[in-house]
Subunit: 345 residues, 4 copies
Amino acid sequence: MSRVKPAPIPMRTVGPVLITGNTIDNEKVLIPLATYETPLWPSVGRGALISRLSGGIKVTVVDERMTRSILLEATDAGAALKAGNELKQRLSELNEVVSQSSRFAKLININYQIAGNLLYLRLEFTTGDASGHNMVTNAADKLFPWILENYSDLKYCSISGNYCSDKKATAVNGILGRGKNVVTEILIPREVCEKRLHTTPEKIVDLNIKKNLIGTIMAGGLRSANAHYANMLLAFYLATGQDAANIVEGSQGVTHAEVRGGDLYFSCTLPNLIVGSVGNGKGLDFVDENLQLIGCREAREPGENGRRLAAICAANVLCGELSLMAAQTNPGELMATHLKLERKS
Amino acid sequence: MSRVKPAPIPMRTVGPVLITGNTIDNEKVLIPLATYETPLWPSVGRGALISRLSGGIKVTVVDERMTRSILLEATDAGAALKAGNELKQRLSELNEVVSQSSRFAKLININYQIAGNLLYLRLEFTTGDASGHNMVTNAADKLFPWILENYSDLKYCSISGNYCSDKKATAVNGILGRGKNVVTEILIPREVCEKRLHTTPEKIVDLNIKKNLIGTIMAGGLRSANAHYANMLLAFYLATGQDAANIVEGSQGVTHAEVRGGDLYFSCTLPNLIVGSVGNGKGLDFVDENLQLIGCREAREPGENGRRLAAICAANVLCGELSLMAAQTNPGELMATHLKLERKS
Amino acid sequence: MSRVKPAPIPMRTVGPVLITGNTIDNEKVLIPLATYETPLWPSVGRGALISRLSGGIKVTVVDERMTRSILLEATDAGAALKAGNELKQRLSELNEVVSQSSRFAKLININYQIAGNLLYLRLEFTTGDASGHNMVTNAADKLFPWILENYSDLKYCSISGNYCSDKKATAVNGILGRGKNVVTEILIPREVCEKRLHTTPEKIVDLNIKKNLIGTIMAGGLRSANAHYANMLLAFYLATGQDAANIVEGSQGVTHAEVRGGDLYFSCTLPNLIVGSVGNGKGLDFVDENLQLIGCREAREPGENGRRLAAICAANVLCGELSLMAAQTNPGELMATHLKLERKS
Amino acid sequence: MSRVKPAPIPMRTVGPVLITGNTIDNEKVLIPLATYETPLWPSVGRGALISRLSGGIKVTVVDERMTRSILLEATDAGAALKAGNELKQRLSELNEVVSQSSRFAKLININYQIAGNLLYLRLEFTTGDASGHNMVTNAADKLFPWILENYSDLKYCSISGNYCSDKKATAVNGILGRGKNVVTEILIPREVCEKRLHTTPEKIVDLNIKKNLIGTIMAGGLRSANAHYANMLLAFYLATGQDAANIVEGSQGVTHAEVRGGDLYFSCTLPNLIVGSVGNGKGLDFVDENLQLIGCREAREPGENGRRLAAICAANVLCGELSLMAAQTNPGELMATHLKLERKS
């Protein structure tokens, strides 16, 4: 393993985006985005403009938790059931063990699945401002010996049983929660829609149904219906020191649009958004600068910076999603714009 | 939109990995990896060591194609059926149109799906050494007017109907193909397994069944069964100028292991690996250096550098997957290693 | 194993349904339905009434094939690739073997998947008027020794590798085809919608988006978006001697609705509808009577009775789907109707 | 709608199966099966024989609940979140309303999902011995007005939002529970395996990995890995008056096998098994007889007959699954047996 020069990904700030909701109150925030796909900047930028012309993007952080599913083998399914049910009742004992591994990790819930005599124990934690990958692995590492000591019918199979599930597109994360569950909504006046997005509310709604909803279903998608969340997530993750492999589950989400009173209601739901304002990758200078720029390095209660970060990331997703959807309602616009921008850059 | 300093992601080279197969013949290749997750380097490095001690990783490139699904509305399902069937028979005419957009893009197949009166036309191309995103969008942009002109029963709905499908975890990509379909295999002598991975073939096989296969199934995974392909893909993509948002579908793949004559057969199947040795993001200095380092900038027939790149990327995935699986067979090893490495770095 | 009296499932005929399309030309067909769920009869009956008041249900049979995926182990992925590619080119040789097993089975295509050294060979046949389960298993049984003889690098693993896939909800059946792929469409005048379904086109469309499309996506559905196809399929299957376990994949399908010129466009797409007018279960008296009633025992070209049967089955599905969707747009209607009907019966 | 003669499905009893576990203590139970697929009887019969020679099938009922997801529209996601969180805390108030609809239905939990401003409220009930479809719809019908009265920010969208989810293959049912979650296990001595199943533990385990686990993953299956659960479920459902459309979700389950001390451990996990010993379809004479035959019409605490029924149904599934898996380890056996049996019958 030899050190080589770092990989310098092109980066710009776009916006500002006007954001409001249960973590941010009517603020304009500049969005840093690092990407090789240069058309992404003006695309998100156009969405940001719309946000300012439409009273802002309303962002609701619905839930937060980070998980690790340990895998145990029981003598049989009956023993697995007994252990699973008991452990769900012993959260406070388990939290004493967890507290030895971190002062931020707190076990808030346990879910389990039994297959044959295999017990998949999904441990769910809050992890302060960190995304919490290491925190929950560390906690699980401490809990495992305690569980084996207390349940002689169980033995170690794996520190992760893939029921977590980390960096994989699965159904469990959206249904039981992993990372931040965030909903973004905006109501765009028809005039803004026509003038700035060169389309109509009706066209966007129609395209969303036929492309994002039905098209993804035909493709065999999983708990997902969107045009390109992955692009906005990647660029934001690289700019803010996140583990960008989490775009795999992060990009599972649903775009829902409808015409309301002639205007366009447009929303992006991201149930598995994994971000942190502290932790791995956050020590680099540009990351620190970017986190400061978006106001996620303030002195706040643990968790508040993390939720704010998730809200900004999700607003960024809506901006890019809206812009691409608008472009695709017009034949030829997408390619023309790509060509123009990539030649320029 | 304002320019800021680029995002410098930490990068190292690991290996070399010994690779053989239908695109590479018994070569040792150093792997460049850019990542915030520093434990990834020694993890892939350990796999690389195993490759050299086990006669190499055999890599088979099974298929290649890049796709764009355009979305049309027909007067009814009957008209959609007629158009879909006819267009499948008119590939050479369509290729004349395609040839105006690029000298590398070649339409090799069409698949379609009909839902109500909606026609999802999945255009499948070879695209030389490029991953081909823009090439196929551009080709689709040229094909669309031709199709509308020839089929008055059809009208434009979207340049992309999400049946492509790009940067989304779906079933269609693996089943019909998108990007490179690559299988990697290795046969690891028991002694190497025990001495260098500190585990046994039996333990790896057992863990693979219970974690990767059954665990992912319980999580509601989709055409996927692996521990962490996304990590190795991301680091390789960032180091070689790929559009890393393609790890979303790229990370769908299956790890299969079995004990053979006391030794360990270990394989990773990656059916949707999207990479290119030319195109967007490839103009940066470090990208060019890295592509040269791994021998993907040689004068070869169009497509050969691209396939070589896919083979190396997939071998890298096997290295990291093997190493993590080995670690998880031993209680406590994963966390201990993480802590040690992250403190060091 | 001891014989006991048969299980007499309650049966009625409803309709007639007015059907038109590429297999049936403007006919009124009575639908026999066997079910314990008695409210199903008036529900489908109401849909049938709508069909007669709206110019009929247009049914398009898009495709037909029956499949069996045999599973082979190759020496490595390279050998699997070579065999897979060659076999796709040897259809006529393979069809000589197939012809020994049945005069109706005809191998029309081969698809394969490779995972490690495993080769899943999906053999696709037309099977005349039969659903074809046994026909394709029998053909596969004949083909297996031939393949093993011609490819010494391959060995037997299983007569079915679950990539068929039979009686399982998977993505492959819809994407590659299994059974009949059928689309049904109807355009219902607003007045009919309001007077007979007690709802509006707008309400149905809205409910379809929020319940069938988004709701199923949130539930983690797979290539499916409908309210209750399974109910109509089951009752029709039991009445016509089908293997009703095929409702598992048969019920995967998509309801798409939109307002067109103030009227309601409503469609049901059933890509994996497995039915036969001959074969197992068809010897029973009531089955024979029902198949005659719906005109599927006529002297026609092989396959025509089977396609007609699929068209009628799918029209039946649209009737029931439409009726339930209409009911659910009105608070309280569903339960009130159920209670009334079940008490009566 | 006109009455016609009932549909008499052929029926036999097979077994007895030896069952033990947390609902049944070491009993031999005859299994009634109604089916057109006559080879199913000897197939399940062979599994029953194995159960008697191997100390019985251990059946663990892990969980039970029946669900209905109502769909509401909130003014925005924030209002949806507030209502969802509050309603989870008001179970006892809600149960007062539920108690007006049934003396058996009891609301035990609420889960919700938010997409945009849509609130999918998954109401989870215990329903005594009934499968509970109508009971929960009726309860939801009573709860809806109460909720709308208490939450002026919400309005009616649908009595079912497909997040239940009923008669659809989705991920939510297995993860959150719907119907009975049942695990069956058996340890078959090697000698029994060889003599009666004409195979070895190693062969069964190998086939399970390559066909059920990897094969289903390649097919794009969803939370499922088995050979043919649907067949055994259908025949048992038709014989015992169940709503057989529930085989759609019921057949999602996982077969797990391993070699233990030279013997065969074989298990079937059925997380969404929906059955009832009372309710719709249970009034028919043969149903009543069959339910008596298997001991599910005894005077017991509410729910006990239902759980017993689920246990027997699941044991039946293991019998048929084991038998088919054994047959498929031997080239040619499956087809030969089918032909022999179908000719005989």
